[in-house]
């Protein structure tokens, strides 16, 4: 399988803190890769380097290469805005735009960047909301405020908003950790479906979730990549003692 995203010797510093160390790994196309590890191990930091979200933090420094389709996204002359259109992101806490309707939230990526013809917008809204299985729940109140939705619905709306701009890779930063079990299940089912079209990289605290949704798993500990490989293998016969200890709940 093709490697959609590839990390080569990635190091991330915040000021004097060395948050992520010498990461080499790749993320196969149309698959789900989970990044697991205890709090503060650098999972989210690593994830956010893949669509250049760290550009906003003046003290952050990313070195090494992060290749998307073999192009280094940190190369000189690469526009982070263009990268973020190809590499979308879903955040831990659902963050729909509070001043916008459900409808406008789905097409926010277009509206904020300019205009979108009405017919095209209708089409995008319907197809994206259907793909995140939210259409039936909201089709009669598309014009109402997005904050009226439940947390789980809001998160699915955020996923709809992300896929509306047709990214190639979707980064998910603990997308279900703020949700109830039923909503979590819905998100997990959704991830399973989304991988047919997108390459998904998900950070999660929840090991069962990693086991359920991912094809590949990477275990990060204190900024180091301890082990990565097929999820089945990581969870049944890990090579590293630390991985085994973490998965069996001996620390973390």
């Amino acid at each position: 399988m093709n490697n959609k995203v590839k990390l080569e010797q990635v190091n991330i510093h915040f000021g004097k803190t060395h948050a992520v160390r010498d990461i080499n790994m790749s993320f196969p196309e149309n698959s789900v890769t989970a990044i697991i590890g205890p709090s503060g191990c650098g999972k989210s930091t690593l994830l956010r380097s893949m669509n250049r979200m760290h550009d906003l933090v003046p003290s952050a420094r990313v070195t090494g290469k992060i290749l998307v389709d073999n192009g280094d996204i940190y190369d000189r002359g690469v526009d982070p805005v263009a990268i973020r259109r190809r590499v979308g992101m879903v955040f831990q806490k659902p963050n729909p735009f509070p001043a916008m309707s459900i409808y406008d939230n789905v097409i926010a990526g277009y509206k904020l960047n300019g205009r979108l013809p009405r017919e095209e917008a209708d089409e995008i809204v319907e197809s994206c909301l259907k793909r995140v299985a939210l259409w039936d729940e909201v089709k009669d109140r598309l014009k109402s405020n997005a904050m009226m939705l439940s947390g789980g619905q809001q998160q699915r709306l955020c996923i709809a908003r992300t896929i509306a701009v047709k990214p190639e890779v979707i980064l998910m930063d603990e997308p279900a950790s703020a949700l109830d079990p039923i909503s979590t299940l819905k998100i997990e089912e959704l991830i399973e479906e989304l991988k047919e079209r997108y390459t998904i990289i998900i950070v999660t605290h929840n090991m069962q979730q990693a086991a359920r949704v991912s094809d590949y798993t990477a275990f990060l500990y204190m900024g180091d990549l301890v082990e990565c490989g097929e999820t089945k293998k990581i969870f049944t016969t890990p090579e590293e003692k630390r991985t085994e200890d973490y998965i069996t709940g001996r620390f973390g």
Partner: protein, 280 residues
């Protein structure tokens, strides 16, 4: 045990009373001013007051319509100059700043908003009135804008800083450039708070008199040309109040009533905006 409890209760009542007294100490002067102005001014309020210019000395009637128009023009002009500078400056401070430059700007804004407004008037006099060889509404508007900018700048900055970072990230992650995110997501989310700040700034400059003495000067007649001396409500109140005629004093009271009512209205509207924001 009971003794300690009883003492605590007494202390509680005592402190409640002190706080009530402090609140009243704030409210009573306001009420006194308002009641007095209404009492003195209401009898001179008439349609004429809002539609006529001051009558020649000795003639009855007349109004302050030219002053109100002049104030509107100068407040409008000050807003045209001050709002873009204040709001865009606030976006710079809140979204792009973080350097020594922004610390300097913030400090300058704080000093500027603490500057006595008569000084602001003198600055506008030196910058505009002297080179243009004449008092003008334009100079008045610039002086008012100088008072407005630091207020709008700091309130807008505070409001922008309250917008959660997750909203900016949501927009950026959709491939929206940072500047568009600042304008369309961050500023828009903070809009009701920004509007409140704008209204309070307008209320503040609406009553400014000192900076206009050196710039707009005032005008007894209709004054629509911004390059000519221009009438303003607070200026008219001032000159009528110090005039030796009883009926002019009455008009000054009526003018004061209008001015206070406008500011009251603006403050109430501002409160409405900040309320509706909290309801979200």
């Amino acid at each position: 045990m009971m003794n300690g409890m009883a003492f605590r209760k007494v202390k509680n009542h005592l402190m409640s009373f002190v706080m009530l007294a402090c609140t009243l100490a704030v409210l009573i002067p306001l009420a006194l001013i308002f009641v007095h102005i209404v009492k003195m001014g209401i009898s001179s309020l008439s349609i004429d007051f809002f539609t006529h210019i001051p009558a020649p000395t000795g003639e009855p009637g007349g109004g302050m319509a030219n002053g109100m128009l002049g104030s509107l023009i100068m407040i409008g002009g000050a807003s045209l100059i001050g709002l873009p500078i204040g709001i865009l400056g606030a976006i710079y401070l809140s979204e792009f700043g973080g350097s020594r430059m922004s610390t300097t700007i913030r400090f300058a804004a704080d000093v500027l908003s603490g500057t006595p407004s008569i000084i602001t008037g003198m600055v506008a006099y030196t910058l505009l009135v002297v080179p243009m060889k004449g008092f003008s509404g334009l100079a008045g508007a610039v002086a008012l804008a100088m008072i407005m900018i630091p207020i709008v700048l700091r309130t807008t900055e505070e409001q922008l800083k309250m917008v959660p970072g997750s909203l900016r990230e949501a927009s950026l992650a959709l491939g929206v450039p940072f500047w568009r995110t600042s304008l369309k997501v961050t500023l828009r989310s903070a809009m009701s708070g920004v509007l409140t700040g704008i209204l309070l700034a307008v209320a503040r400059i609406a009553g400014e008199t000192a900076p206009l003495l050196f710039t707009a000067l005032g005008n007894q007649f209709w004054s629509k040309n911004v390059l000519q001396p221009m009438a303003a409500l607070p200026l008219q109140i001032f000159s009528f109040a110090i005039a030796p005629y009883e009926d002019w004093h009455k008009l000054a009271w009526a003018g004061a009533l209008v001015l206070v009512s406008v500011m009251f209205g603006l403050s109430l509207t501002a409160r409405y905006f900040s309320r509706s924001r909290q309801a979200h």
